[in-house]
């Protein structure tokens, strides 16, 4: 009896751990996530604007942009009180608690092709990636 419980327990545990890893693993590298891109990138007067919505995480999680031109990140909040409001963009030296509702414009400078800009919330639970191609 004890053996059956042990074996059952191991099977259930592995299934649960597998499920959780699938659930929370960072999907940045899967192709599904890249569908939403290009809609949130806009070039105006030679400046590339990337719009990210912050609320319960960041959307889209991966954005591809053109490299080599001045780029600005526009982070929109809409009654955002969760972790995603405490934004850290390390490569731009940006670290700020965003207003619950509003827009924050972060100058990324010129992002060279192949470079990546990673945004992460203060507690590290949500993140997004902007990569120049």
């Amino acid at each position: 009896m004890e053996k059956i419980i042990t074996i059952l327990s191991i099977i259930i545990s592995i299934a649960l751990i597998g499920g959780m890893i699938y659930l929370v693993s960072d999907g940045s590298n899967t192709s599904d996530d890249q569908v939403a891109q290009s809609q949130n990138v806009e070039i105006r007067d030679g400046v590339q604007y990337v719009t990210i919505t912050a609320r319960g995480g960041y959307t889209p999680s991966v954005t591809e942009i053109r490299g080599g031109i001045p780029t600005k990140l526009v982070v929109k909040t809409n009654s955002t009180y969760d972790c995603s409001a405490s934004l850290v963009v390390r490569s731009a030296g940006f670290q700020k608690m965003l207003q619950p509702t509003g827009e924050e414009i972060i100058d990324l400078g010129i992002v060279k092709s192949g470079e990546k800009v990673q945004g992460v919330c203060g507690m590290g639970m949500y993140n997004f990636l902007v990569q120049a191609i």
């Binding site: 059952l8 751990i17 009654s79 409001a85 405490s86 619950p100 590290g124 639970m125």
Partner: protein, 335 residues
């Protein structure tokens, strides 16, 4: 002077050695007590002229309150204990999976309007208490309450002190934020480091609850545990931990701190933070008083081990997230 050796049961923690020794040494007629946790034996030198059976009963009376008992014959260990961990792992993991499912489902991301009023901050508090903040604050509350109730059965004083400390710090510091209008405790790096410390504490307490340390207790010097025991049982400690939760990393707490900051007056800052803390209270109270009541039920061993598994999971998650937040490692998840 006679020397007797008894079998002891209920010793689940390193500090039990000191607790039993201290308690028994206080008794009249007991000269010296030595507890061997490895062998589960207690040796006493006594000037009392009682039979060994009578002594066992007398001394058990003194330590029963803390969940120990002494006996002349070795009590057959409940066989159940070995199987408990196999039940506890899936239970703990199920709760952990439930936690991630709730986060992933997005049901916590409903709109609350633009400005923060005491009414909305209460709702935000309710939401925060089941949000990803639960990983840090809730995990810490669960691990501490379970650990405290494991050591001291039916003692809710530390839990009350913790919640009191938390409420008071949110009210007072919220008021101060509103009054001075500048940042305290909103430094990202400081909160992230505190979060990492908190998650490390959770992992250690979780491992202890699961029982990993039972095997290696003896290799660590008793002095270390005596130190921890003193901290654990001081009135001030749960109070300070409660106060400290103000500074723990939680997006909602920080958003409320900013709201209190920009509210412009002591009273409005106090209201926003105080009501927010009240909103988080039901869930945290459930976790802590739930632990205390489970600790007294017959399912106590299963509860402690399941809680341990859950706390380790939350601790690892919070630790990895905290490191990612600090930029030490790449983010591993997006919940």
């Amino acid at each position: 002077m006679k020397t007797y050796t008894f079998h002891v049961s209920g010793t689940h923690c390193p500090s039990c050695k000191i607790l039993i020794e201290d308690t028994l040494n206080e008794q009249v007629g007991i000269e010296r007590t030595t507890v061997d946790l490895n062998q589960e034996k207690v040796t006493i030198d006594t000037t009392l002229n009682e039979g060994q059976q009578k002594l066992a009963e007398m001394l058990t009376e003194k330590v029963k309150r803390n969940g120990y008992s002494l006996s002349v014959e070795k009590q057959t260990k409940e066989k159940v204990n070995h199987a408990v961990i196999w039940e506890a792992i899936p239970i703990g993991l199920t709760f952990l999976a439930l936690f991630f499912l709730i986060q992933k489902s997005g049901i916590l991301n409903f709109g609350l309007g633009g400005t923060v009023t005491p009414a909305t901050s209460f709702i935000i508090g309710l939401v925060a208490s089941v949000s990803s903040c639960l990983a840090v604050v809730g995990g810490l509350v669960l691990s501490l309450s379970a650990t405290v109730s494991q050591d001291k059965i039916s003692d809710v004083k530390p839990i009350m002190l913790f919640h009191g400390g938390r409420l008071i710090s949110f009210i007072v510091l919220g008021g101060i934020l509103g009054a001075i209008g500048s940042a305290i405790g909103i430094n990202f790096t400081v909160t992230a480091i505190l979060g990492i410390i908190a998650s490390t504490v959770m992992i250690v307490l979780g491992l202890n609850l699961v029982g990993v340390f039972e095997k290696i207790i003896i290799t660590l010097p008793a002095g270390v545990f005596s130190f921890f025991r003193k901290i654990e049982h001081k009135t001030i400690t749960p109070l300070l931990v409660g106060v400290g939760t103000f500074f723990l990393p939680c997006g909602f707490t920080q958003a409320m701190q900013v709201a209190a900051l920009s509210s412009g007056s002591f009273l409005s800052g106090l209201l926003i933070m105080g009501v927010f803390a009240l909103g988080t209270l039901p869930m945290l109270a459930l976790l802590s008083f739930g632990s205390a009541s489970f600790a007294q039920s017959k399912h106590a061993p299963l509860f402690f081990k399941s809680a341990g598994v859950l706390v380790i999971g939350l601790g690892v998650f919070a630790l990895l997230a905290g490191l990612a937040g600090l930029g030490v490692i790449d983010p591993l998840f997006n919940i």
